[in-house]
């Protein structure tokens, strides 16, 4: 197999967040998407499970559908597998309209949320099943089954029945079974849901490496934001059957489209306020909860008088020690709560307005000269460029 895995280390100048790798076909206007949802709708009785979705996924992309439970992620994915038919709109794969194509004729494979391993077949039998349907010669089937079981490190258990496997092992078999047919697209419905935290993280990186190595397009469903952020090239945030925002993890985290996305992905404090006027490159926002006029960076679609939310992430706020140079925005408050997480400490600081602001600090040193304690009066602050101005 030829592996032209894109380099992971290249760096192009000022970009938002961390750049994972040099792979961004969605920025190329000439690129043709591999998967395309066009105005897709699906109702179940009174609920609109998918409510007008337009989405493009490119070849070799690792794409994540992220959203709260019941927002239609599984339904959207099952339409690509052929297990649900859209009421409206269409789904195309490599330019071909998939309407009316039954599941067994679609060049995609799915790893089911419940794994759906055949309990009456061995691990090897499960993996061989798909190849047998294609009528491949026996020797080739055996060779490919062995190879893929090697990849997922399950060769030693090839003769076990699924009942005799642990959750992590089942997950590997399900993955192997979906991969062995070398599909154009691999659909993964919460593939790591049943694993414990440590195994989950390990598997996340394994899956990412595998995806780059095999060059298969991955479409993954999850409701775990860390998982989506870690693994995906791009994420689509879904809510109530609609796509709210599509972007790289960094774009979605650093430039959320609205308050909902900002709050869904990671921690955030939102200072509600009204735009006052220009301030150099940016704007000033009078915020009652903050108890001051905030300076923020450039923002599109605002003018004096616009009601906005100034969103700031905990790690972009800091506690300003006496004598330190103060950032452009400072507020006084009282330490309400301290959560020590080992690598980070989270301070919940209560402002005069009663608003509680979360501030996190990396514990870079083992000992601190002047530790911050409960009920201490502190001064917190952030730079104008760290905040996001939300109009929706």
């Amino acid at each position: 197999m030829i592996l032209d895995s894109p380099s992971r280390s290249s760096r192009s100048a000022p970009a938002i967040g961390a750049v994972r790798r040099d792979f961004a076909p969605w920025k190329d206007p000439g690129a043709v998407p591999l998967i395309r949802y066009e105005g897709v709708r699906k109702r179940f009785g009174a609920t609109a499970a998918v409510d007008g979705v337009d989405l493009s996924v490119f070849e070799r992309e690792f794409f994540c559908l992220l959203g709260p439970s019941g927002c239609g992620k599984t339904t959207l994915m099952r339409m690509l597998g052929g297990f649900e038919t859209p009421d409206e709109g269409r789904v195309t794969l490599a330019g071909r309209d998939l309407s009316g194509v039954p599941p067994h004729l679609r060049p995609v494979n799915m790893m089911f949320q419940s794994y759906a391993l055949f309990p009456h077949m061995t691990v090897a039998g499960n993996v061989a099943f798909g190849l047998k349907q294609d009528g491949l010669p026996r020797t080739e089937i055996a060779a490919r089954v062995d190879a893929v079981l090697d990849t997922v490190q399950m060769r030693g258990l090839a003769d076990r029945k699924p009942d005799a496997l642990s959750g992590g092992q089942k997950q590997r078999v399900a993955l192997a079974r979906a991969l062995v047919k070398r599909p154009k697209v691999l659909l993964l419905d919460e593939p790591l849901g049943a694993l414990d935290k440590r195994l989950r993280e390990e598997t996340q990186y394994e899956l990412m490496d595998l995806q780059v190595a095999l060059g298969i397009t991955f479409l993954m469903v999850t409701h775990d934001q860390d998982e989506a952020m870690t693994m995906a090239d791009r994420i689509a945030i879904m809510d109530e059957g609609r796509i709210v925002q599509v972007g790289t993890p960094a774009e979605i985290y650093e430039a959320p489209a609205d308050r909902g996305v900002a709050a869904f992905l990671g921690d955030v404090t939102i200072f509600e306020g009204v735009v006052q006027g220009r301030d150099g490159e940016g704007w000033t926002v009078a915020s009652e909860p903050a108890g001051c006029v905030l300076r923020v960076g450039e923002a599109a679609g605002v003018a004096p008088g616009t009601a906005v939310g100034v969103a700031i992430r905990p790690e972009k706020l800091r506690i300003v020690a006496e004598g330190d140079p103060a950032p452009a925005n400072v507020m006084d408050g009282e330490v309400w709560d301290i959560g020590y997480l080992g690598d980070w400490t989270i301070y919940r600081v209560k402002l005069a307005s009663g608003l509680i602001v979360r501030v996190s600090q990396a514990n870079a040193a083992r000992f601190v000269e002047r530790p911050v304690g409960w009920e201490d009066r502190v001064r917190i602050g952030f730079d104008p460029a760290s905040a996001v101005v939300l109009t929706a």
Partner: protein
Amino acid sequence: MKGLSRIDLAALTFGFAFLYLPILILVVYSFNASKLVTVWGGFSTEWYAALFRNKALMDAAGVTFRVGIVSATIATILGTMAAVALVRVPRFTGKGLFTGLLYAPIVMPEVITGLSLLLLFVAIDLDRGFWSVTIAHVTFAMCYVAVVVRSRLSTFDRSLEEAAADLGATPLRAFFSVTLPLIAPAVAAGWLLAFTLSIDDLVLASFTSGPGATTLPMRIYGQVRLGVTPEINAISTLMIGAVALVVIAVSLATRPRAAR
């Protein structure tokens, strides 16, 4: 389990005696050396030997056996198909009625089923004999098969079939390589149930049978009217044994897997 009180014990004894004493008497007397059915004359297996020399009885046993095998097999195929269709088909208006109609023959008095089948066979001019009895048993038994298979299918994980389809199996192959092996115990139980129903049946057979296709229950019933012979006891004991074996097999086949 707590110890049983005397009343419990008495109730249990009485209940079991009520259920099994008649059968026990029949079994015991089948080994009676005396020709008189009600007088014990010592242990003997001569009636079993006599049985195998009784051509009429043996012929009837053969007919019953063949009708049982053929009708159980056809009923299993049809009943399984009906169950799969009922579980698969998305909800439609009248599905409840349709389901009810499938199960109706279970509660229908057999006399009515028998009579209506007889009328049908006369109307279409079907010769009464082996096939008419077999068809009658199929119509009756397939409902039971459908009930058994349907209850197993209702707990069947549909995502297994979807996985099979996803991996390239046509609906037919998905059914035979994934669904069928997994519901096989219920299908087997359905077959055994259909088989016992068939070999037990007297009413439907009486209505739909013809010359040369006398079943064992018909033959026994006919002979008993002329007086009970130890031979009848012997063949009845064999039937009890056969049915008991089947019932045990069914309960083993449909027993939920032991918790791991």
